[in-house]
Subunit: 413 residues, 2 copies
């Protein structure tokens, strides 16, 4: 089964927006064994949209269109769908009921734009959008499926995960693709490749992709086989062989972020965490609290950007900062033990460093970060150099800090 | 003059790589007045590549192809170019000399892969690649230009900036495109459209795109005109007419985030800010500290997730939380004035709400957030409902909180 992805929007053609919808859809389709053969982007032009509809529908079983379903004047996708599927716009009862509920939930009133959003092509099956007013649509002919979805990424992703993927999964026959992503952190791509060594005996016909990011390198295993079961079994075998070589760097699998893994570990152990951040500026607390249920183990965080706040909120002695500087092992340790004590938490975590671009010196360059950790038994700090780029330094420091807690709590190495 | 961008590579079709080349090329072409009408992505398949070549070359004056020029087995672009332009691969003297210099400069030896890189279609004009071994190519027919460039982003970008853009600029006659993006927040796309009303007298031939995101709706103005100056002038006129209607929702232009705008305002006024976050969990502090120089106005932040921490760190009376609940106007106000007082800052900002997915009740549903603000003269809290989705609620609340401070400091409305 092959698919084509069409993204619609002038903002894409002028390069204002990077097309992340394409990659997301491609991954989701590949995951259920549907091969994407082409991706096409056109502007909000009726003629170009109709041409791209016709080309894609002629070639492929599955077509997914995103964009151009909003209520504003530049959105022509719905009209193009009517022309292409030879139908007309009617006010859809199901969509109307959903939009009414949606607006009521937000205490928002009914507007002409909302009315416009109830208008859908007569022969389309409505696909509900749980987090927005623009509905998705499905047109089906024989064994062919044409989806039209909103272009706003978070709405589109929600609809795809909730409705499109489950629906198409049930239609797929033929080869099955299975993927598994192992998430590593604290090791560079090149060192990881070195430690894995010869890949052939590990992979035995599977494919392995190295996907680096500021949070670490993800290893994606891909296996194609006749049945879902065999493909899944082979993936697990490859996983076991990779873990045999680099287990200690792997903190999770799939889409799971380190803060989710850590949240589960803290919950299991019954530990609580308090955080004192300087250079990471709240990013660690933000990540921790992205996880539902984090209030069970996250007691408090403080962002002590000024020296005064380090003394006021954490009891770091002014003299200690004077003697060693705010970016030092001693201050990192005092921050971690201070926040732990103040909060009455099991674990204290701290960061202090130079995020840049200014503030660096030859002895303490931009990118230098001390991460402090304190629990009942120990208090320590680890020195890192995360290179340049303010947001990159914050991102890398937040990951290293969470990983430090994971390793300490699990008593790894 | 219109252009099409073709990106080639299986890694794009499986969604492993996000296609940033497209957006870069689209921006560069638009900047010199060439209108991109279509972007297409195919895999390393001869048939699909040839079809997409033919379609694009039929429709547009400029075609830019990236990817598939490397020495590895799956790179079929060069063969496709030979078939399409009816020519053959020959070892190119100019390319050979350049690759030799390139490898010598890196003390690397000549390999079969390097030999392969000297082989180029006979009738192509070679475009030098200053930072890699794969050459770019130009095929010209009458007033039409077909470029084939390597897919590695930094090599492609270098070639485009050094050679492709200067070359095409000299060929462009006719129109210039100018864009301006106005960033709004606190108003839904549909309400914004309503308040703007009839767009014709505002736009007078310009185009306007509505680009929604969790942080607000961006309005992108596009004007096409004979000279860069006239196009720029018309953009500014459209901007003025839009501001005349919805000025109060516009916090910035271009790529500027609200935290940068607010940082500039706080610096100008000489104000300092302290933040107490509950449901946003550190996200506001994180955004504030993403801005270089924020240590000048950001004194401290606290993430008071537990009730105890609200009392300990902000002096919110236990009785107040008992009487009204942690998610209430009273507690939001007490948090804002508490953090302001504790920090000795000009402004205190607070959030308390229910990010979900659990913890909602009929009276206090998921998405309910109180945002508190305190300065020397006033203390208040505003109630919002940000809908569902934990990360979305945090994102929207952080934006509304920063916007509240911007409006209060600028004494808007």
């Amino acid at each position: 089964m092959t698919a084509e992805i069409l993204t619609i929007g002038d903002e894409l053609l002028i390069g204002q927006v990077i097309n992340t919808n394409q990659a997301f859809l491609a991954q989701e389709l590949n995951n259920i064994g549907i091969v994407v053969v082409r991706m096409n982007t056109v502007g909000d032009s009726m003629q170009a949209i109709l041409e791209s509809f016709a080309d894609a529908w002629k070639r492929s079983n599955v077509v997914i269109v995103t964009g151009g379903l909003g209520p504003t004047h530049d959105d022509v996708t719905k009209k193009a769908l009517c022309t292409f599927f030879n139908t007309e716009l009617v006010s859809n009862v199901e969509a109307r009921a959903r939009i009414e509920r949606f607006l009521q939930g937000r205490r928002m009133s009914w507007t002409p734009a909302a009315e416009e959003q109830t208008m859908l092509p007569k022969n389309a099956t409505v696909i509900p959008n749980p987090i927005g007013t623009a509905s998705g649509m499905l047109f089906q002919e024989d064994e062919k499926y044409f989806f039209a979805l909103p272009g706003v990424p978070y709405e589109m992703k929600e609809i795809v995960r909730m409705s499109v993927v489950p629906y198409l999964s049930s239609k797929v026959t033929g080869s099955y693709v299975k993927h598994l992503t192992l998430r590593t952190t604290g090791i560079a791509e090149s060192i990881l490749a070195q430690q894995l060594g010869d890949l052939e005996p590990i992979l035995q016909g599977a494919a392995l992709a190295f996907l680096p990011s500021p949070r670490g390198v993800r290893l994606r295993i891909t296996v194609l086989d006749r049945t879902s079961e065999v493909a899944g079994q082979r993936v697990r075998e490859v996983e076991a062989r990779i873990r045999g070589k680099v287990e200690k760097y792997i903190y999770g699998t799939g889409e799971e972020e380190l803060e989710e893994v850590l949240g589960r570990i803290l919950t299991e152990k019954g530990f609580t965490l308090a955080i004192a951040e300087s250079c990471t500026g709240g990013l660690i607390a933000d990540r921790i609290t992205n996880v539902s249920g984090s209030s069970n183990y996250f007691e408090r965080g403080v962002v002590t950007y000024s020296n005064k706040s380090k003394t006021d909120l954490l009891g770091v002695p002014t003299a200690l900062i004077g003697a060693h500087g705010a970016v030092s092992r001693q201050v990192a340790e005092a921050m971690a033990s201070g926040v732990r004590r103040m909060a009455g938490a099991s674990i204290g975590l701290s960061t202090t460093g130079i995020a840049g671009p200014t503030g660096g010196t030859p002895e303490k360059p931009v990118g230098l970060v001390w991460i402090g950790y304190a629990d009942r038994e120990s208090c320590l700090a680890v020195r890192f150099n995360f290179g340049e780029g303010r947001i990159l330094v914050k991102e890398r420091a937040s990951q290293a800090a969470l990983e430090l807690v994971r390793r300490k709590v699990l008593k790894l190495e």
